[in-house]
């Protein structure tokens, strides 16, 4: 379990993280969303124990992560700009990891090599960007980490590789209850694998949601009445957004779907449909609720 409490990080006088708190359950995948410069990378590096927060606590399994070798042995951080020692081949790099991480799994290394079809004796810097990304995951997963911290891992990758990498992550999460934290500036890139999403903007965490809960909790409803609509209907419901097109009302309503249905049925609508919402739509309406336009924060 990753727990971040009231973390403040300053670079000189600028607040890069301003009172950030979040919690990630074991075996879940957490997506951290935010535009460039929102503080995503800083938060991830703080969680990875690379940089130290000025205030607050960053704990894994209720122990501070900074300078904690026992925890860092079970964690891998993959930065947005990959780093390999210059002129190192995959094998040399693997030997390095093997010397540093005690849980290194050589069998898995061989297995993945066959699946990847990459020459382990070639210098990594000669590989293409996508191949280097695969090498990074190859090495990271052979460490058998319990925590995997990924900074913009899918940026600029083609869909095939993206899917491959996602499947590896999901597999480890399912089999070994690995905990993953993924940052992105694009919601659609991560919505299919994340269990929970947090949105960070100018160093502050604006919103944190469990996706299953979110999807079952918000509904798009189309209703039409023969006569004028009784305005008390909307008072009974938690309406996030409403608009009228001709005689049809389109509303975004929060609440249990059965309860919503029961209430609306009492008013005898002529038309009544509950439609599915995309995750992006959900966020647009949620953010409206807290006073932000999502277009300004996410693409």
């Amino acid at each position: 379990m990753i727990q971040v409490q009231n973390v403040i990080k300053k670079f000189e006088k600028d607040y890069v993280l301003n009172d950030v708190s979040l919690k990630i359950q074991r075996g879940s995948i957490y997506g951290l969303l935010g535009s460039n410069g929102a503080g995503k990378t800083t938060l991830l590096k703080t969680i990875a124990g690379i940089i130290k927060q000025n205030e607050g606590a960053v704990e894994l399994e209720r122990k501070p992560v900074y300078e904690n070798v026992g925890l860092k042995e079970r964690m891998v951080f993959i930065p947005d700009t990959l780093f390999f020692f210059s002129h190192y081949t995959v094998t040399q790099m693997a030997n390095f990891y093997m010397g540093v991480y005690p849980n290194w799994n050589p069998k898995r290394f061989d297995q993945m090599q066959q699946a990847l079809d990459l020459d382990p004796n070639r210098k990594i810097q000669r590989f293409s960007k996508g191949m280097q990304r695969q090498v990074a995951f190859w090495l990271a997963l052979c460490v058998m980490p319990d925590y995997l911290i990924l900074d913009e891992p899918f940026d600029g990758l083609d869909p095939v590789i993206r899917r491959k990498i996602k499947s590896w992550i999901i597999q480890d999460v399912a089999e070994r209850e690995m905990t993953v934290m993924v940052s992105s500036h694009n919601l659609s890139e991560v919505e299919d694998i994340c269990d929970a999403i947090g949105i960070i903007h100018r160093g502050k965490l604006l919103l944190e949601k469990d996706l299953d809960e979110l999807k079952s909790d918000i509904h798009k409803v189309q209703i039409a009445f023969k006569e004028e609509m009784n305005p008390t209907l909307f008072d009974e419901l938690d309406v996030l957004h409403q608009e009228k097109r001709g005689s049809v009302y389109i509303c975004i309503i929060r609440g249990d779907d059965q309860l919503v249905e029961e209430i609306i049925e009492q008013y005898n609508p002529v038309v009544f449909d509950i439609l599915p919402l995309t995750l992006e739509e959900i966020f647009i309406y949620e953010m409206e609720g807290v006073g932000y336009a999502i277009e300004n924060i996410l693409l």
């Binding site: 124990g49 940089i51 930065p79 780093f83 010397g99």
Partner: protein, 667 residues
């Protein structure tokens, strides 16, 4: 679950060696070529001259390519430190290395040692090779086993010191280039800053003595470059043993500081000039201060220490330093927007500088009372017998004047200098025949020392104070302490005359000459001492058996009757007297009217007949040669030989000694 990892990470060593092992290999090759190979070359060439040279002049391994070794002492440790610290200066690698499951102290230990091996292992291998060589071939004439160990210890002392400084700087900064530059600056900093402060105080304070400022000798001792520069003209490091200890202690201190800094170092500071925000203002104003001193020193020296130019130099220097520091910190040249810090700095500086200039601390007017003074070390730098090197500490520790009457004279002289504004001022110094520098070092009853140095534009003005001091036995003995000190052995004396030079190595004759000189010198008059050694063609050249400054030269004055007698007895007086047959012309002038002529006796074709009288008649020459020299005389006689520009000698006589035809000529 017990951890199966060990503290030692082999992979870190492998990685480091792969990326900068060349530093160590290069160093080893350089040492190999500089020492073992050089020795083998000498050995195989087997040239008796070379072998003799090594036997006589090479006392240690620093005698073999010592200057290059000195350069390597500087370059290699800095390179090693720059490359070992590089992992924390490059952003990607800094993040990566610190995401690994390694404690900071562990990473530090590994990296520090890896770099240190680059300077340790090559030296160790070289030492082994040298030992093996001394076992299998005859190299006794160059070195013995004890020399190897000395070299090992000395080399390691310096390289370790430089390496730890450079490493410490590496933890302070986030850029490799800055690390390299700052390391070199740190290494020369102690000597550099003390030179700057001394020179500036010297300009601002009347009487400030650069030579006797103990600050400088300490700080230059701690500047290894000082010793490396010495290596280029010496074959051994003449460094006191306790200094080695200091170097090691400082090295350990730098390691400790590095570790502490590294543990709190923000990793995100990779790529920044200064890694710790707290240090930025210190860096900024430190650079400003140094450049301010440099600017003031430069313009002061170039413009004859005029106060206006010094102030101009301070402001220009400070401005330049401030902007430079800001540019370095912000890594852009467009830094012209914030001036508040600079204004505060300038304000404080002006107050400090004015307080020194107007002597609020009472430095200039501080003259001790007679009762407080235990003794004085007094030096008049114009007298011909002063060999004077500022750092001879043992000289400063003793007094040469302890007689209460003379102490009173010196204090009166000191009072007189302070009371008269035109004496002793650091501004507008022009050296003339009569000018001199006077050093007064008081040793006070309470054990402290008070050193002052004054420029005296004309010694005549203070003659009444200076004469009894210079004529005193104590002063004379201290000014030629090498002669009067029985512990110093003289290995040879050469007698130089007008056209002849004889060298004496016989110890008995040497003793006779030096004993006669000891007596004669005590009888020397004030005028003769003030005459200076200029123009004196007859001299005794002593070679001393001591570590430094082997040669001393003293003129043979006509008044040295005992010396001349000994030389006559020993038949060493050839060429000491000028005969009329050697002289083809004498030029005569009145030196009170032509003081500057003293330094530049004209070539024969340039002589202005209004100022000079030329005598070529042999009878007249005979008459003029026989005149007795008078050091206090006002007329100058210059003697020329038969060849073009063949100047022989010149000396002074009194006006009443001159024959009537000379006086008539000038009327």
């Amino acid at each position: 679950m017990p951890s199966k990892t060990s503290y030692f990470k082999r992979e870190l060593w492998k990685q480091a060696f792969r990326s900068f092992g060349w530093v160590g290999i290069g160093y080893f090759l350089a040492l190999l070529f500089l020492l073992p190979l050089q020795i083998i070359m000498v050995k195989t060439k087997n040239d008796p001259d070379d072998i003799n040279y090594y036997r006589e002049h090479v006392d240690s391994f620093f005698g073999i390519n010592g200057d290059i070794q000195g350069m390597l002492f500087l370059i290699i440790p800095v390179l090693a430190a720059v490359f070992t610290c590089r992992y924390m200066h490059v952003k990607g690698s800094a993040d990566f290395m610190h995401s690994l499951p390694l404690r900071r102290s562990q990473l530090f230990t590994h990296q520090f040692l890896i770099g240190y091996m680059m300077i340790l292992i090559p030296v160790c291998i070289t030492v082994c090779i040298l030992f093996v060589m001394s076992g299998v071939m005859d190299v006794e004439f160059i070195y013995q086993n004890k020399d190897i160990l000395n070299w090992f210890y000395e080399t390691l002392t310096f390289t370790t010191f430089v390496y730890t400084i450079a490493y410490c700087v590496g933890t302070l900064t986030g850029m490799s280039v800055v690390q390299g530059g700052l390391s070199l600056i740190f290494i020369i900093f102690p000597a550099g800053i003390s030179v700057l402060i001394n020179e500036n105080l010297n300009m601002l304070l009347e009487g400030f003595s650069v030579h006797h400022s103990s600050f400088f000798s300490y700080s230059s001792n701690l500047t290894p470059i000082w010793w490396f520069m010495e290596l280029s003209n010496k074959s051994n490091l003449e460094m006191a043993n306790w200094l080695y200890g200091i170097y090691w202690l400082l090295s350990i201190a730098f390691i400790g500081i590095s570790l502490i800094l590294y543990r709190i170092r923000p990793i995100e500071s990779a790529n920044q000039t200064i890694a710790f925000p707290l240090l930025k203002p210190i860096f900024k104003f430190g650079v400003t201060f140094c450049f301010m001193l440099l600017g003031g020193g430069y313009f002061g020296a170039a413009q004859g220490q005029s106060e206006g130019w010094i102030m101009f130099g301070y402001i220009c220097g400070a401005l330049f330093g401030y902007l430079l520091a800001k540019m370095l910190i912000q890594k852009t040249w467009r830094v012209f927007d914030q001036w508040k810090g600079f204004m505060i700095y300038i304000g404080i500086s002006i107050v400090v500088i004015l307080s020194i200039m107007f002597d609020w601390y009472g430095f200039e007017t501080n003259v001790p009372d007679e009762g407080e003074v235990e003794g004085i070390y007094f030096v008049d730098q114009s007298t011909f017998n002063n060999w004077y090197s500022g750092s001879e500490d043992q000289e400063l520790e003793q007094s040469n004047i302890t007689n209460p009457e003379l102490i009173e004279k010196i204090i009166n002289l000191h009072d007189y200098i302070i009371a008269n504004d035109h004496i002793g001022q650091p501004q507008g110094v022009t050296y003339t025949e009569k000018s001199t520098d006077i050093d007064i070092i008081y040793h006070l009853e309470n054990g402290s020392r008070l050193a002052r140095e004054y420029f005296i534009p004309s010694i005549d003005e203070v003659e009444q104070y200076v004469r009894p001091i210079l004529e005193s036995k104590a002063y004379k003995q201290s000014s030629l302490n090498w002669l009067y000190d029985n512990n110093i052995r003289i290995s040879s004396v050469a007698v130089s005359g007008y056209d002849y030079r004889q060298r004496v190595t016989d110890q008995q004759t040497i003793n006779k000459i030096s004993n006669a000189l000891k007596q004669d010198y005590l009888d020397t008059s004030y005028e003769e001492m003030m005459q200076g050694s200029y123009g004196e063609r007859k001299s005794l050249d002593f070679e001393l058996k001591s570590e430094q400054e082997h040669f001393r030269q003293l003129p043979i004055l006509d008044s040295y009757s005992k010396v001349l007698e000994v030389l006559d007895q020993e038949e060493l007086d050839r060429g000491l007297t000028l005969h009329s047959t050697d002289v083809s012309m004498i030029a005569i002038t009145n030196s009170t009217q032509n003081e500057e002529m003293f330094y530049e006796l004209p070539h024969r074709e340039d002589i202005d007949l209004n100022e000079w009288m030329l005598v070529e008649d042999s009878e007249q020459i005979e008459e003029l040669i026989s005149l007795d020299k008078e050091a206090s005389g006002t007329w100058e006689l210059a003697f020329y030989g038969p060849y073009e520009n063949d100047f022989i000698d010149s000396y002074k006589v009194q006006e009443d000694q001159l024959p009537s035809y000379v006086k008539e000529y000038f009327e």
